[in-house]
Amino acid sequence: MVFFDLGSTLEPTKNKELEESYDVIIIGGGPAGMTAGVYAARGGLKTLIIEKASEGGQIVLTEEVENYPGFLKITGGDLAQRFAKQAEHFGCDITMGEVRNVELCCDNKFVILDSGKKIKTNVIIVATGASHKKLGVPGEKELANRGVSYCAICDGAFFRDKHVSVIGGGNSAIEEAIYLSQMASKVTVIHRRDKLRADKIIQDRAFDNPRIEFKWDTVVKEIKGENKVQSLTVQNVKTGVQEEMSVDGVFIYIGLQPQTVLFENLLRLTSDGFIKVNKDTLETSVPGVFAAGDVIEKEIRQIINAAADGAIASSMAIKKYF
């Protein structure tokens, strides 16, 4: 498992002094944000992409991507770097930072960063994506980073030869269970139904894996441990029977929640917090503010359609406002 990642060259544009104003500010540097950047810059717009953690967003947290067209197999990190390089190549400014506030009224909008810097723009594209949904059970917060994790490739190394549980039944849960089985002595997938939602090809790989076992019709009621995860209280949803399960770690992959706290009173959102947009233009309830990627109200959330959203949002912004 020894590998050497070359990383991307730290381009001079990153973290360089920001301008006072841009034509478009894209909040979020994942596939949606980066693609929006490519289209905006190529369309002649002065473009800024703001990313708070790492370029690539969620895809950086996955080892392998097999279903992005054009690539039989590529690591999430590699794909993310390609997106970023392309955006930079066409002239986007990219900066690392967190957005504290936005002022959305009128033709001149403002984005205020945590550092206090206030930047003017005509158009904003919200591509803040989603983060892992929490279970919301006792012990989850208390033991966060002490055996409770939402990222297998980040934290899997701490569970070599240990027993871990993975909560969830979709692609992410099963793919990460397969990843963890390389290190852990045992992986127990705990799912509240009696069948998985994951793609068949992924399911089959998991079923064939001798280190992965399944606990069906089961939910987690509590995560327990002193200073670190030691056990789970689980309950069978069909019989109601509860039992204690000894585990060293719990990896939670039960879905995504949108990162829209900032926009709660500014944009129209669904009851779950996803941004409501016009299906054709991806414009939000505020003129001049568009949204793209996992953060919008949609059925399917994949890299490919996040990227597509980015392209559409920029193209429609150009059409309408420039």
Binding site: G7, L10, I153
Partner: protein, 222 residues
């Protein structure tokens, strides 16, 4: 030789030849006995391979720590494998690596080599550089990482940049799986975890430079 794939060797060679300005020296400290330090040889091999690809711009010197404790202490190397990168004037600015630089941290190594070679010019914006320079008290930053953690390099890089900017700040990359006792001491089980001043403060996750700076100030204001 040959830890890197052929394509990667070419890419590294090009990157170093295009990006390096002045020569640098890597001082590596390893254990006396191989069995005491699983990653010492890996570290020695990879930094020597990178040096070979640098067409003379990078030289490496390896010391057995037990026989060179004073030297290790001078450079702030407390564990093995541990290494520092010196610029042409012999300055390392309190930037220390504890653990083998593989996985995603290999990218960190390349970045730091280039930056040291270019007069420690960091990509931190002017405004933040000014704020960091104003820190008068000693600050020790330990950035715990693992090789497969993709969010980790930014945490290490920011910590190292701060150390380069202000001589009161010491920064260490600590490869968590190689130093389980040290990791357990700070309860590290998720990375990146940044520990400030031996546990007075810290955070988990990749924070942008401004937020990272705020966390340091929180500790100093306690």
């Amino acid at each position: 030789m040959g830890l890197l794939k052929k394509n990667d060797q070419t890419a590294v060679r090009n990157r170093l030849s295009e990006g390096m300005k002045d020569p640098v020296k890597i001082l590596l400290f390893i254990s006396k006995k191989e069995e005491d330090c699983h990653y010492c040889n890996l570290t020695k091999d990879i930094i020597e391979e990178v040096a070979l690809l640098s067409e003379g711009k990078i030289v490496t010197e390896t010391y057995v720590k037990e026989e060179n404790e004073e030297l290790a202490e001078k450079y702030g190397v407390e564990y093995v494998p541990g290494f520092v990168i010196l610029d042409k004037n012999g300055e390392h600015r309190n930037v220390v690596f504890h653990g083998a630089p593989f996985g995603h941290e290999f990218a960190t190594l390349l970045e730091i080599l280039l930056i040291v070679s270019n007069g420690f010019e960091t990509p931190i914006p002017e405004e933040l550089i000014k704020k960091v320079m104003e820190i008068k008290e000693p600050v020790k930053i330990q950035a715990f990482v693992t090789p497969t953690c993709p969010h980790c390099p930014p945490a290490v890089l920011t910590a190292h940049f701060f150390a380069m900017i202000n001589p009161n700040i010491k920064s260490e990359m600590v490869e968590a799986s190689e130093f389980p006792e040290l990791s357990a001491k700070f309860g590290v089980s998720a990375v990146p975890q940044v520990v400030i001043n031996n546990g007075d403060g810290g955070f988990v996750g990749a924070y942008p430079p401004d937020n990272f700076y705020e966390e340091i100030i929180k500790v100093l204001n306690k």
